[in-house]
């Protein structure tokens, strides 16, 4: 399964542990929104190319 982890803000320990658990054994990708230069159209493509999308805090 392809999992897309979207980080809306800098991850704390909880987010790190949960995202690791969800991604384990899957093909996972991380997209960071709190940095500069987010490729929003690329993110739309990624959202539909992955089986599961999670927007962490």
């Amino acid at each position: 399964m392809k999992v897309l982890n979207i980080l809306r803000s800098e991850p704390d320990e909880t987010v790190e542990k949960l995202s690791e658990a969800v991604s384990k054994g899957n093909q996972s990708t991380v997209t960071i929104l709190y940095g500069e230069n987010v490729d929003w159209e690329g993110l739309v493509d990624d959202i539909f190319l992955h089986d599961k999308v999670i927007c962490w805090w």
């Binding site: 979207i6 809306r8 929104l33 987010v38 929003w40 159209e41 993110l43 739309v44 493509d45 959202i47 539909f48 999308v53 927007c55």
Partner: protein
């Protein structure tokens, strides 16, 4: 049929993300539905909220709108008709029907 993206907005922190993702999805021919609940309803009062009009089907949790002191201002929210002030069932329908679902 176009891919459908559902967006749940349950905080008032990420309007910029919601607008940019909605604009990008719309430009790529996706259908976008957005449900605002909890503190997310406060975003209806921000100037940039109107950037979503015409690019997504918008709905608001009526209970949240009232509990955040906005009752009486329903007709000031651009792009949202009376019937789109809805219950949590609208979010559940979105969960059931969209192809992808994200939360901001």
């Amino acid at each position: 049929m176009a891919d459908t993206l559902g967006i749940l907005v349950n905080t008032d922190r990420y309007l910029d993300y919601v607008v940019k993702l909605t604009q990008a999805a719309h430009s790529k021919g996706k259908t976008v539905q957005i449900f605002f609940t909890g503190k997310g309803v406060l975003l209806t009062q921000k100037p940039d909220f109107k950037k979503l009009v015409g690019k997504a089907k918008l709905a608001i949790c009526d209970v949240s709108f009232r509990s955040n002191g906005l009752h009486g201002r329903e007709d000031e929210v651009p792009g949202v008709g009376f019937k789109d002030f809805a219950t949590q069932a609208r979010n559940a329908e979105m969960v059931a029907n969209v192809d992808r679902y994200v939360v901001f």
